[in-house]
Amino acid sequence: MSLDVATIILTSAFAGFLGSLIGLGGGTIVIPVLSILGVPLKQAIANSMITLIATSSGSASAYVRERLTNIKAAMYLEIFTVIGAIIGATITLLVPSKYLYFFFAAFLSSSFYGIRRKILTSASHDGTHQDRLSKWLELEGNYYDESLDREVSYKIVRAHLGGPAMTIAGLAAGMLGIGAGAFKVAIHELILKMPPKASSATSNFIIGMTALAGSTVFIASGLVNVVLAGSIAVGATIGSLAGSRLLPKISDKTIRVLFLVVLIYLILQMVYKGVTST
């Protein structure tokens, strides 16, 4: 493989495809692949981050109109992820790449949560007693769930904990140029008690904003190459659109096995790069 437009479009398309099937952004896969192709890690992070806006916004537009996305919750949580992402991206420009490889490998491991949660079923949160802040912020929602064939309504709790936790998600996303979707979904479900579909859709929506916040730092860093970033964006978006079309037709087990193999390979690659880089 060499660093050319066709290879980057194809690998990004594959990454976007796999990413949309498993509910992760393309960056998780694109960045290690770019790094294997010889792109310096910081540059891979900076170029991949901008393209996350495309993969996130493409699917977000559909989720928003289906009312799966909780816009008010997203706006409140974005205060925290935007701060986190700006700080995270700044840290990435300052620290040696060696440490970033290890941090990346460690964070890839958090993606296993995304696989595990596909198996879990969720309880509905009708009639939950809300705390004062969550109520003041009007954090509640309802949407029509096709698989359940009924309207699901829910109330969000513990906004005072969810906000600060999202700063950490934003920090990791900004540092590594990824969406940190699995981490965000975990916060939405475990702390804020959002139902799974609203949680995924809202996380996807917030990723676009976190990616913009990180990009505001990277765009000024002189690391963004228009041909590289453009190739990733075109490939990843085509891949994620194809993935979301095919999603209902592929078995969960096939996806999970495929993803596990890819993930473990990439984690090992990043650790190897970290050990051998000076």
Partner: protein, 124 residues
């Protein structure tokens, strides 16, 4: 006429922004491949890098280059600029929408997000 919901406004901003920027980026890539006669990405070519200290000044630069005598770098840069403007405009639209709905709590919340993004886009 019925006022559109926030969901509809944001949905349209996102899909129009992403589609437009992808069409422009694809055109830019085609110009690149045809112009260079090769598909290799040269990371050492200084021309291909975004140089933006102030994002809004950069937008004006890029747009005026594209309207003048565009090369592939300007076209690709325009695509990336539009991509970054997409979530930015969705925050702007939210501020306006919450102001119209007289939900001042959320006018403040969305203004905080908008202010942080704007400062980070200008001050580098």
């Amino acid at each position: 006429m019925r006022r559109p919901t926030l969901e509809e406004v944001i949905g349209y901003i996102l899909i129009i922004g992403v589609t437009t920027s992808l069409i422009i980026e694809s055109a830019g890539l085609a110009l690149y491949v045809v112009g260079k006669g090769a598909i290799e990405i040269d990371l050492s070519d200084p021309e291909a890098y975004v140089r933006s200290r102030d994002f809004f000044a950069y937008i004006i630069d890029v747009v005026s280059s594209v309207l003048g005598n565009p090369n592939y770098v300007d076209v690709m840069a325009l695509g990336l600029v539009l991509l970054m403007l997409t979530p930015y405009l969705r925050v702007v639209a939210s501020v306006v929408f919450f102001a119209f709905s007289r939900n001042y709590k959320y006018v403040v919340i969305t203004l905080i997000v908008l202010a942080m993004l704007t400062v980070s886009l200008i001050a580098h």
